[in-house]
């Protein structure tokens, strides 16, 4: 009985991840053959699941949300690139077969056009107007068919206190949607990943808006702009 009590004590430590590896394995073996301790383990795991809720919610820095979403956008992009690389031999095989079977056929023409369209396209981002972004520059890299675009900026001045840069994409200056807010680093640079398919966008514009969340619509003329065509 006393031995079983000792094991029950170890079950609690096991649940909390507080055992050394060799003892953890011993508890795991015991749990497989002891319904009482297995029930104790289930009870205590449920109890442990509640402990994190004792902590006070703390307002996370606003940039953290953007960091997470940017990271996910990069992961999605890299997965697609991997997928493309894995599929590429079969595409080539298909193309080769098409050449052999129907050289100069319309089918081959269409496939080649598709491959060409899959190429990333780069457009310069230029400062315009006289609102303090002179000297800033960058580029936007659009990957057609993929909901991701890269924006690289340099020599950006810091926006006034309490304000942020906001990126807009759309068909024209009158028809844009917000694509995110950001602040440049100390050197005036920033690399951003946008979770947007810019295939149909005609321009990308950057304005300075009230922080930390930006504006629903641009409140000033663009300071930088890229024409995506």
């Amino acid at each position: 009985m006393a031995e079983h009590q000792l094991m029950a004590d170890s079950v609690a430590a096991y649940v909390m991840g507080g055992l050394e590896p060799e003892e953890e394995e011993a508890v795991r073996r015991h749990l497989r053959g002891c319904p009482d301790c297995a029930a104790l383990e289930r009870r205590l795991r449920g109890t442990m699941a509640l402990l994190p809720f004792a902590v006070e919610e703390r307002t996370a820095p606003p940039r953290l949300r953007g960091r997470i979403l940017s990271r996910l956008a990069m992961e999605r992009s890299s997965r697609r690139h991997l997928s493309f690389r894995l599929q590429r031999p079969s595409l080539i095989a298909v193309l080769a077969a098409a050449v052999l079977l129907a050289a100069w056929s319309g089918f081959l023409t269409v496939r080649v056009q598709q491959l060409q369209q899959a190429q990333a396209r780069s457009y310069p981002i230029l400062a315009i107007g006289a609102q303090g972004a002179d000297g800033a520059e960058g580029q936007v890299v659009v990957m057609p068919g993929q909901e991701v675009a890269l924006v690289e900026l340099q020599h950006l001045p810091s926006p006034p206190p309490g304000r942020v840069y906001e990126i807009w994409v759309g068909a024209s200056l009158e028809d844009v949607r917000g694509a995110g807010v950001f602040l440049p680093d100390a050197a005036g640079s920033r690399l951003l990943v946008l979770s947007h398919d810019l295939s149909d966008a005609r321009l990308l514009a950057i304005t300075v808006e009230p922080g930390p969340d930006g504006s629903p619509r641009p409140t000033e003329p663009p300071r930088l702009i890229a024409h995506l065509a």
């Binding site: 004590d9 609690a12 991840g17 507080g18 902590v55 006070e56 820095p61 960091r67 992961e75």
Partner: protein, 188 residues
């Protein structure tokens, strides 16, 4: 999107929808950051912890089974493990209980009050912890929030290993009894 249940949100996460991660973060980001800050004590590290935790959740969302536990309990388990990983300064691969596989469904299986608001839940859990004898509460907190092994707690508090384990079990069982005793009130 804001009116999705956790179960619906989990389905969208499993489908790889980035908007679902944004929604999940909007729901539990501050709680996750609070837990990370509690464990690491460092704002910059806590940001990294929460970021990595949410990326892991997005990668592994298909493993989530709403029949076996609540989404928020799973999120917090992943955040805790990530935070302990950073706090202990050891790569995740070296700590078997800190990778996501270690957050088995049974680890987060029983959030008995999945529909109770976070603020109410916080007051309940805090009350339960405060009701513990000091020596048991200290061991529970060092184990859960400090991520210390029983041996490490014994060394720190100059207690025999068996005493640490005993206090930990007694404390956890009292917490369980406290929560179970309040379940009727919460359901009512």
């Amino acid at each position: 999107m804001a009116e999705l249940s956790d179960e619906q949100l989990a389905h969208r996460l499993a489908a790889g929808q980035p908007e679902a991660v944004a929604e999940l973060y909007d729901r539990y980001g501050d709680l996750a950051y609070g837990l990370a800050l509690r464990i690491t004590g460092d704002a910059a590290q806590s940001e990294d912890v929460v970021q990595e935790a949410f990326v892991k959740i997005w990668r592994q969302a298909s493993r989530f089974d709403p029949q076996r536990g609540s989404l928020r309990a799973w999120v917090m388990a992943v955040v805790r493990n990530q935070a302990l990983d950073v706090y202990r300064g050891r790569p995740g691969r070296e700590r078997r209980e800190l990778d996501l596989d270690g957050v088995s469904p049974s680890t987060w299986a029983c959030d008995p009050w999945p529909h109770v608001s976070a603020s109410l839940l916080r007051s309940r859990v805090r009350a339960a912890l405060c009701a513990l004898p000091t020596e048991q509460r200290r061991v529970v907190e060092l184990s859960y929030f400090g991520g210390l092994t029983c041996r490490e707690i014994g060394d720190m508090l100059e207690l025999p290993l068996g005493t640490v384990k005993s206090r930990l079990r007694l404390g956890m069982e009292k917490l369980h009894a406290h929560f179970a005793g309040q379940e009727l009130d919460l359901d009512g």
